[in-house]
């Protein structure tokens, strides 16, 4: 089939993809506090971008105060920073032409700043204030609390079920979702304690990109973030990057209303830092292109949770009168088909090259050596990734389903979503 191709051209190109690296533009260093810093030098443009990300295990919210991380995110969003209240900070940013942003997701806070490189000192100082001294007491906590709850209330039941589905994939315990009561329990002190507990240097990564050299970067980071030390609160458990990722019941959420649909999520047993997971994730979109003939409208995608963990999501809608449970059965058969694939060394070599190129394209640095994973390791991981015990399902538009329905065989227990509480 490939005979018509100019194979020598392809082979030569594929083999000779790693050019001689020039002087690296990327530097990585770690402060004694554990803060990881990455510098991407770019002297072509007189601007600087700062990106600070903190990740933590989602279950760190204290029991009985679920939703406090969402509330903390809103307070951080409000924009107090050290000596500046929100309005003053906004005015400073406005006058200097500094672009500032904050984003939050389950288990993740991100601050970004973009400015002229002449303002690098001021930008680092503002970033440090926003991250370390967010002035929690200066915010109207009641307003923020009401808004968090309002957002939750304004969701439709289907949207809520989808959120809960993702939340359970991420955390493995549905009680992590906020209730009106748990939000009401959160006060300024507990919010400050949570801030100290999760916003820690050893959980953070700072990326500086722009017109800055290594010496300047070290000096600026030490000056403004060097005092960011360990908090008195107990240390968090180690990051789940490459470790095993547990899953908990329920394995199947069922919603009586909505469009009849079935979704099946398959979460790998290790995090995004695991080399075998990242190589299989590179190959997965190609494997999912082949859809079973009995599921013509189905889609199979590789998605990522907020902590970067890739997962496979198979989803299909029922034609009118169709039974979502029957669709789930067929999605599970599709999953079994993918899991039975043979993974060969050629697949892995291709995935390794693509992975290296992706990183090179993202960082603007020459591709590094591809990760080495044996075919046996990858095949074993694939089996575990798609095992029934790691499958999580969401069914919507289901009037009734028996717990011993064949679609649920081998899955964990089922739970009905009847309200947003």
């Amino acid at each position: 089939m490939i005979a018509g191709l100019r194979l020598p051209v392809l082979v030569l190109a594929a083999a000779a993809v790693l050019p001689a690296a020039e002087a690296p533009r990327r530097h990585v260093f770690t402060l004694p506090s554990g803060l990881q810093v990455e510098l991407l030098q770019d002297h072509d443009r007189p601007c600087l971008e700062l990106h600070l990300e903190v990740r933590w295990p989602v279950g760190e919210e204290p029991a009985g105060r679920e939703g406090s991380a969402s509330l903390l995110a809103r307070v951080l969003q409000a924009g107090h920073a050290g000596p500046h209240d929100a309005q003053t900070l906004a005015r400073i940013l406005e006058e200097r032409g500094i672009e500032s942003g904050f984003q939050a997701g389950p288990g993740r806070f991100q601050w970004t700043l973009r400015c002229s490189s002449t303002l690098q000192e001021e930008a680092l100082s503002l970033l440090a204030h926003r991250v370390l001294r967010p002035g929690l007491g200066g915010t109207d906590l009641e307003v923020q609390r009401a808004q968090v709850w309002q957002e939750r209330l304004s969701m439709g039941l289907g949207e809520w079920a989808d959120l809960r589905f993702r939340w359970e994939l991420l955390e493995g315990r549905p009680e992590g979702l906020a209730t009106e009561r748990s939000l009401g329990e959160v006060g300024i002190e507990s919010l400050a304690a949570l801030h100290r507990r999760i916003v820690r240097p050893e959980r953070a990564r700072l990326t500086l990109r722009g017109d800055l050299n290594l010496a300047q970067a070290r000096q600026l980071v030490l000056l403004h973030l060097g005092t960011w030390g360990p908090a008195p609160e107990p240390a968090l458990p180690p990051a789940p990057k490459a470790g095993p990722r547990p899953l908990h019941p329920p394995a199947c959420l069922v919603l009586g209303t909505g469009r009849p649909e079935a979704s099946l999520a398959l979460l790998p047993p290790a995090g995004p830092g695991d080399p075998a997971v990242s190589l299989l994730a590179e190959l997965m979109p190609r494997w999912l292109q082949a859809r079973p003939a009995d599921l013509p409208g189905a889609e199979g995608r590789l998605q990522a949770l907020e902590d970067g963990t890739p997962y496979v999501l198979l989803r299909t809608a029922a034609p009118s009168g169709g039974d979502p449970a029957d669709l789930l059965l067929r999605l599970r058969a599709w999953a079994a088909q993918v899991a039975s694939r043979a993974v060969d060394a050629e697949d892995l070599a291709l995935a390794g090259r693509l992975r290296a190129h992706r990183e090179a394209a993202l960082t603007g640095t020459p591709p590094g050596p591809p990760a080495a994973v044996s075919a046996a390791e990858a095949a074993a991981l694939l089996q575990r990734w798609f095992a029934p015990s790691r499958q999580r399902a969401l069914l919507t538009g289901v009037a009734a389903i028996a717990p011993d329905h064949p679609a649920l065989q081998g899955l964990g227990p089922m739970a009905w979503v009847r309200s947003k509480e």
Binding site: G4, A13, V17, R45, E94, S154, E299, R353, T365
Partner: protein, 548 residues
């Protein structure tokens, strides 16, 4: 005393000079068949971002619906497999057959919908469906077999993107620098063959995407730009009528060399890259070399004043749109600054949209070669009606029109535009996109890197001027989407409230339709209250309920 004051006054100017964004250094060329080439050298990364940009997108599909552009771009560029490069008579025959069966099925469904109970439609339909399934299954060895190599994967290409804009079709990717010649050769062979092998799967994907489509944007464009090309770029549900043969005929025109610009940014040498492109893309037959000379939208015949009210699932939302000039017009920049100011809470002084509106402001037609629509979208928090939001938006615009914008806020907005332009240049993917789209939408890549000096000279008055000229209340098209509360009351408490209101109305009115309408109207008004107040009403309405 004077020096600090002087420093304070001049600091913003110094900063402005420091960051003034220069356009990138682009080497421009043209192949012998007319294809444009834009090259930017960025040595050291070992990678090249490559993009193919075809002028004319979903607003330029001739007699076909806009979705034809998406079908064409995705079927053509999402993958590259051996069958895309040479003759495949067996596959072509199967694709044609699947296409005819799909069309017969569509016609049958239309017919059975029009004549209920017509003899044997179900049986015929089932037979057509079975034939279609069988035919598609037979195409699977070519179209979905994961063991068949994707040739761009073999080259090491990553971050592949296919995009369809109103004025452009684009395909771009990152590839290792040594693979440039192989990529160019494969792409020119693909363009020459113009085989749409993945069309059946692309159709399925689009069907699934359309199910999750929010109708708000499509309604606004259709209402604000009726009968104009941009008015139908978001319309949905039209792909079934687009046949493979039509799509191929459209592809031969839409993907012709005269419409193509190749943009490369990365680890390359311009002369070598140009020679590689000449040997590959340069051999494609030229097509029509004529430059496009479409007339722009006539702003003088702005329809405006339209108001569309629709029941739709989800939270209540409002879209307001005003017709504004195209990408190349000097007023485009102040309109972009205006959009930024409206969205930023930090601007303060009542010149930004209030936070409770959940508002965004932007130009609604990406690019907008012929003209554009300035769109303000609001998704208000509970307790705020859409009419009140509309009035608040008008009040905000009026304050801007009266010149309430401070020079500092204006200068800050300009600086953020400059920084954004610099940041776009830092990322090769972003730079390729801007260069390519700039050429497709403005006729010249430089239009994507506008010079802010003129706007800076005019000052904040420019913002007041564009609001006055384009964003008058009479010129606005409004689309209001509100949930059908009978179908989707929101939560259990509201559902209960609705049932109680309906029961009360039925007790007083004989006509159930009127009773239903009254209950819905009451529920709509009660939604303006806080949750606590609504709970109190619920308690009062419950049988035996008392006033708190």
């Amino acid at each position: 005393m004077v020096l600090p004051l002087l420093m304070r006054r001049t600091a913003p100017m110094l900063v402005a000079f420091a960051v003034a964004a220069q356009p990138p250094e682009v080497v421009e060329g043209r192949l012998r068949n007319g294809i444009r080439v834009l090259l930017v050298e960025r040595p050291g990364s070992g990678m090249i971002r490559a993009g193919l940009f075809f002028r004319g997108g979903c607003a330029d599909t001739g007699g076909l619906p806009a979705v034809a552009a998406t079908l064409l771009a995705r079927a053509m560029f999402t993958e590259l497999r051996p069958e895309d490069l040479g003759p495949q008579p067996e596959l072509d025959a199967l694709l044609e057959r699947a296409d005819h069966l799909r069309e017969s099925l569509r016609v049958e469904e239309l017919r059975s919908g029009r004549i209920p109970g017509a003899p044997g439609p179900d049986e015929h339909r089932r037979s057509l469906e079975a034939s279609l399934r069988d035919t598609l299954a037979r195409t699977a060895p070519w179209t979905t077999a994961p063991d068949r190599p994707d040739l761009l994967d073999l080259l090491g290409a990553v971050r592949r993107e296919v995009s369809v804009e109103p004025d452009a079709l684009a395909s771009s990717l990152d590839l290792p620098a040594p693979a440039l010649a192989a990529w160019a050769d494969l792409e020119q062979r693909r363009l020459r063959a113009l085989r749409l092998a993945r069309l059946p799967r692309v159709r399925q994907d689009l069907d699934a995407e359309e199910a999750a489509h929010d109708p708000a944007e499509a309604l606004l464009l259709e209402s604000a730009l009726p009968g104009l090309p941009y008015g139908r770029v978001r319309e949905s549900g039209r792909q079934a009528g687009v046949l493979l043969a039509d799509l191929k005929a459209h592809g031969r025109e839409a993907l012709s060399p005269s419409r193509l610009a190749i943009v490369l940014v990365g680890d390359l040498k311009s002369a070598e890259a140009q020679a590689i492109l000449e040997r590959s893309f340069g051999t494609l037959e030229g097509g029509d070399p004529a430059e496009r000379t479409d007339a722009g939208l006539d702003l003088r015949r702005r329809p405006g004043g339209r108001r569309v009210q629709v029941k739709a699932a989800g939270r209540p939302r409002l879209r307001m749109g005003w017709l504004v000039p195209p990408a190349t017009h000097p007023d485009r920049l102040p309109l972009e600054v205006l959009a930024q100011l409206l969205e930023r809470r930090s601007g303060g002084q009542g010149l930004a949209l209030p936070a409770y509106l959940g508002g965004t402001a932007r130009l609604g037609v990406p690019g907008g070669r012929l003209g554009n629509l300035f769109v303000i979208a609001a998704r208000p928090e509970e307790g705020h009606g859409l009419e009140a939001c509309e009035q608040e938006i008008q009040r905000t615009l009026l304050r801007l029109q009266q010149g309430g914008l401070s020079p500092e806020a204006f200068e800050g907005a300009l600086r953020r535009l400059e920084l954004a332009a610099l940041a776009h240049q830092a990322d090769p993917a972003d730079l390729v996109r801007r260069l390519g789209l700039g050429w497709c939408q403005g006729g010249d890549w430089r239009t994507a890197f506008p010079d802010l000096r003129g706007l800076r000279r005019e000052g904040p008055a420019a913002i007041a001027r564009v609001v006055r000229v384009y964003l008058g209340a009479e010129a606005a098209t409004r689309v209001l989407l509100e949930p059908d509360l009978a179908q989707d009351p929101g939560d259990a408490a509201q559902a209960e409230l609705y049932h109680l209101l309906r029961a009360q109305a039925l007790a007083r009115l004989d006509d159930p339709v009127k009773a239903e309408a009254l209950a819905l109207q009451s529920l709509q008004q009660l939604r303006m209250l806080s949750r606590e107040q609504r709970d109190q009403v619920l308690q009062v309405l419950k049988p035996g309920g008392k006033r708190p």
